[in-house]
């Protein structure tokens, strides 16, 4: 029963109802159920497992009718008192927000079970939660799905926090007398089956809220409410002021997140979800959207299940700052839903894609990147089918326009998962020019040193020859020195730069056959690579530049090799970022390229991941005392490095957003049009927002204050033992991007 509550949350009212009915037959069984659930509830409270706590509490809330006195409202009040304590101790507290969310989401279930005699209780607690629910934290400015980068972008929807929205919806519901019209009412147990003379009331078991409250294994952040379909002329999902929007969403999202170990089951439950609410509130499954619109125009008050589902899954795919699971999980849920109910889900999904595509210019850039990654992966599971015809008009847009940039990046992503010829065969002829024929050739990219006219041509070929016959580090060194000498004679400012170029390009060529090949070539050349890179920062950046130049037609490979070089510390995070946002930036056109974002994003992720792992070590209960200073010192150093990295990124992007010297020059010389200049600055604004958020999230997790709080909690005793952010690291690791995902 507990397991069902935790894994299939949409069944909670029904499971609970069985316990309520049992009370009319065998009250002892109900008492035992309450006891067991309450014990587990207390446990989740102690561990800060908020999702589980919420669900178990919901089960108890659905038993409100068999409790004595105030029942659930006792614990809700207790929780609220804790919120007050937390908020008065720290105005930016996030645990309190989580608790308020739980309180608010529990109220309607309590009322469904408890009935009208508790309306006043609900009213009272709503009055209390109002201040907290309507408060905005500074962080919330950065977690909205949309951000307007220019003056003429149109915002699809305003920011709503999940709890702010809930508070308003509940208040409205209270004013309307708690009709809760979309929740199936609890029917009384048939009188003839009652076996007890007097209905037995149970007392709600006492709960202890630990002090200090254990914030739990996941980092908590305020939550933004995401919607795709709200605000349309004909709303296919519950409107934002309707409680159903939050309650149904919550139930779907929990089902997705709690059951991540079986996406097939999740999909099966999702497409069946209307059965667990008042079915008449939904249009028949798979109703065609045109038909649906007619029904609504005809006065029917109905929602479209498929739209609700798609929107709910996207809300998780688009959750900021971090998703609860690896993003690929949500990809797989969408795929499963499409497999199970293709004719119902696919059209809704198509409309979702069109909506997101339309809003790309104002969509948060990290989300645009997630969308890109999802889109390419999704269509790769469905024969790369998409109606590209719809977007043909956008081909005439500037390559710097977010929609055109998306089209180009999406095709590139599809090719990474497949091959160019195949992808070309799935798109209209008008688009074929975006996938040039040279990509079909089954051969390695040209080696520029094969051309005699290239400076250091002979040396480049010598290096390649040495790499191929597994030459020694001395062999490489000899050629590299020759290049340096020639370059010095010719007055090259940093003679190591052409040497780095030749060596890295030769490594790329020698290892062009596959990633394993390039890996073993890097391994062979690593001594000289490291020595070049450590001697000159310009040469270090040249190494990144050479990789990208060699693999210019296959950015996926380039990004992957850069990642490898970071692991070998041939490249440093700062070098990658300075190359991408410095040497490679040009007037700023590079910002429109998804793979540049990918390279920078992955690099930053690598840095933050490392810092998180140091925190895990620091907060490990069995960290030997003598290692503490070492860990602390590492943390302090790496934290500063990360801050420096973020500062560089933010400063560079801010500069560009506000004008940008190179861009201004290019504009005045006519090299970049005024319109393109505007687009570039809009990209800079969107980039800036992503990395500002990342920086703030890092401060919230690995900043001195955050770590101190965790350390204190650790010291507070074994009772409230925090499990440091394993979960979170896991989710972020593969996510968002992918130090890894290139």
């Amino acid at each position: 029963m507990i397991q069902l509550t935790l894994e299939q949350p949409f069944r909670i009212p029904y499971v609970a109802l069985v316990a309520v009915y049992t009370n009319s037959v065998q009250p002892d069984i109900t008492a035992e159920a309450i006891k067991r659930v309450a014990a587990r509830t207390q446990e989740t409270l102690n561990n800060g497992q908020w999702a589980e706590f919420k669900l178990l509490l919901r089960f108890l809330a659905c038993l409100q009718s068999v409790f004595e006195d105030d029942g659930i409202f006792t614990i809700l009040q207790q929780l609220f008192d804790t919120v007050v304590d937390l908020q008065s101790a720290n105005e930016n507290d996030v645990v309190g927000i989580e608790l308020v969310k739980i309180i608010l989401l529990t109220i309607p279930y309590t009322l469904v079970s408890g009935g009208s005699r508790f309306h006043e209780h609900a009213q009272k607690i709503l009055e209390k939660t109002e201040i907290v629910a309507n408060n905005m934290l500074p962080m919330e400015g950065l977690i909205h799905t949309y951000a307007n980068p220019g003056e003429d972008g149109e915002m699809p929807m305003a920011y709503h926090s999940v709890i702010g929205l809930l508070q308003n919806q509940l208040t409205r519901e209270a004013e309307a007398g708690w009709t809760l019209s979309f929740i199936r009412p609890f029917l009384a147990f048939p009188a003839e089956a009652v076996k007890v003379t007097e209905p037995k009331s149970h007392s709600l078991p006492a709960f202890t809220i630990p002090s200090p409250v254990n914030p739990g294994p996941n980092d908590l952040f305020p939550e933004s409410y995401f919607s795709l379909y709200t605000g349309q002329d004909i709303e296919s999902v519950p409107s934002l002021d309707h409680l159903a929007a939050s309650l149904i969403r919550d139930s779907i999202v929990d089902t997705i997140d709690q059951l991540d170990f079986n996406r097939e089951a999740v999909a099966k439950f999702l497409v069946d979800m209307d059965r667990f609410w008042v079915t008449e509130k939904f249009a028949r499954r798979g109703t065609n959207f045109e038909k649906f619109k007619e029904l609504v125009k005809g006065g029917e008050k109905i929602w479209k299940l498929e739209d609700i589902l798609v929107e709910a899954i996207f809300s998780q795919l688009f959750k900021l700052p971090n998703p609860a699971h690896k993003l690929v999980y949500y990809h797989s849920v969408i795929t499963e839903c499409c497999k199970i109910a293709p004719s119902a889900i696919a059209p809704s999904l198509g409309r979702a894609i069109r909506t997101v595509y339309k809003n790309l210019p104002v969509l948060d850039l990290e989300l645009a990147y997630r969308f890109l990654d999802w889109f390419a992966h999704h269509v790769s599971n469905f024969e790369f089918r998409w109606r590209w015809q719809e977007w043909l008009d956008d081909l005439s847009l500037s390559n710097l326009h977010p929609r055109k940039a998306f089209i180009m990046a999406a095709l590139e992503r599809e090719i990474r998962l497949s091959f160019s010829k195949r992808v070309r065969s799935t798109i209209p002829e008008e688009m074929h020019y975006l996938i040039p024929e040279r990509l079909d050739e089954d051969k390695s990219p040209d080696f520029k040193y094969d051309n005699e006219a290239t400076p250091y041509a002979k040396e480049g070929r010598d290096l390649l020859a040495h790499l191929r016959k597994k030459g020694s580090s001395e062999d490489f060194k000899e050629v590299i020195t020759r290049i340096q000498e020639q370059a010095s004679q010719q007055g090259v400012a940093d003679p190591l730069v052409p040497a780095a170029d030749a060596f890295m390009t030769a490594i790329c060529r020698a290892g062009a056959k596959s990633l394993s090949h390039v890996l073993s070539c890097i391994e062979r050349g690593k001594e000289q690579l490291l020595s070049i890179a450590n001697e000159s920062e310009a040469a270090r950046r040249q190494i990144a530049a050479s990789v990208v130049e060699y693999w210019k037609d296959q950015s996926g490979v380039a990004v992957r090799i850069i990642d490898l070089l970071l692991n070998y510390t041939v490249l440093t995070p700062m070098a990658v970022v300075q190359w991408a946002l410095g040497d490679h930036l040009g007037a700023g056109e590079a910002l429109a390229k998804a793979w540049v974002f990918e390279a920078v994003f992955n690099t930053v992720l690598k840095v933050t991941k490392r810092n998180r792992s140091i925190i895990v070590a620091r907060l490990s209960a069995d960290l030997p005392q003598d290692q503490l200073p070492l860990v602390e010192a590492t943390l302090a150093k790496d934290r500063d490095n990360a801050r420096e990295l973020f500062k560089y990124i933010e400063d560079t992007l801010r500069g560009l957003a506000q004008g940008g010297d190179t861009l201004l020059e290019a504009e005045s010389s006519g090299a970049v049009s005024a319109d393109d200049g505007k687009l570039i600055r809009a990209w800079a604004v969107r980039w800036h927002r992503v990395f500002t958020r990342k920086a703030q999230v890092e401060e919230a997790v690995v900043g001195e204050e955050a770590v101190e709080a965790r350390v204190k909690l650790l010291a507070a005793g074994s009772e409230a033992k925090p499990e440091p952010m394993d979960q979170d690291i896991k989710a972020e690791a593969a996510n968002g991007g992918d130090a890894e995902m290139s």
């Binding site: 079986n262 690896k326 790769s380 596959s514 490979v557 690791a733 593969a734 890894e740 995902m741």
Partner: protein
């Protein structure tokens, strides 16, 4: 808290192949050789970071595999399965992650989805060992490609033994 049984099947469990390996080893110990008992495979797989990936097309490249599998975490090593004689890809590979959890997530989120338009199969694996990258079929590829009587263009057409019999 002991782990509870889930209400639906978990997709991150090892297949019966891995468990059958256990049985073979457990049931047939030669009493005279007195080999020490092999470790419990459940135990061996409990920290597994490697996955066996099957049903790949012969034409699927390392880069494609990386592109998909790195969605579950950083890949430590990728070993392509090769035809024993021709040293060409023969439709399987081993993907090794840094973390056990990444391997489990891959079972849950990527196993049974498509790569290069084929439904791929993933299984937890005790770890790559030299030699395992080669097909064990008579003709050098995987055993399953010896006797297949359906035409699979991604895996060399008909089964190779079928060829001999005049298909």
């Amino acid at each position: 808290m002991p782990p509870n049984r889930s209400t639906v099947e978990r997709l991150d469990r090892p297949s019966t192949y891995a468990t059958s390996k256990r049985r073979r080893r457990y049931r047939a110990p030669d009493e005279h050789t007195r080999r020490p008992p092999s470790p419990d495979p459940e135990e061996k797989l409990k920290d597994a970071t490697t996955l066996y990936v099957g049903n790949l097309s012969f034409y699927t490249t390392e880069e494609q595999i990386h592109e998909l599998f790195s969605k579950c975490g950083e890949i430590k090593r990728l070993v392509m399965g090769l035809d024993r004689f021709q040293k060409t890809p023969c439709g399987f590979c081993f993907v090794e992650y840094y973390n056990h959890q990444d391997a489990l997530d891959c079972m849950k989120y990527i196993g049974g989805t498509k790569l290069d338009e084929r439904i791929i199969r993933t299984d937890l694996d005790e770890g790559f060992a030299e030699g395992r990258q080669y097909g064990r079929g008579k003709s050098g590829g995987q055993v399953r490609d010896e006797y297949r009587d359906t035409f699979d263009p991604g895996r060399g057409g008909y089964g190779r033994s079928m060829d001999d019999e005049g298909f």
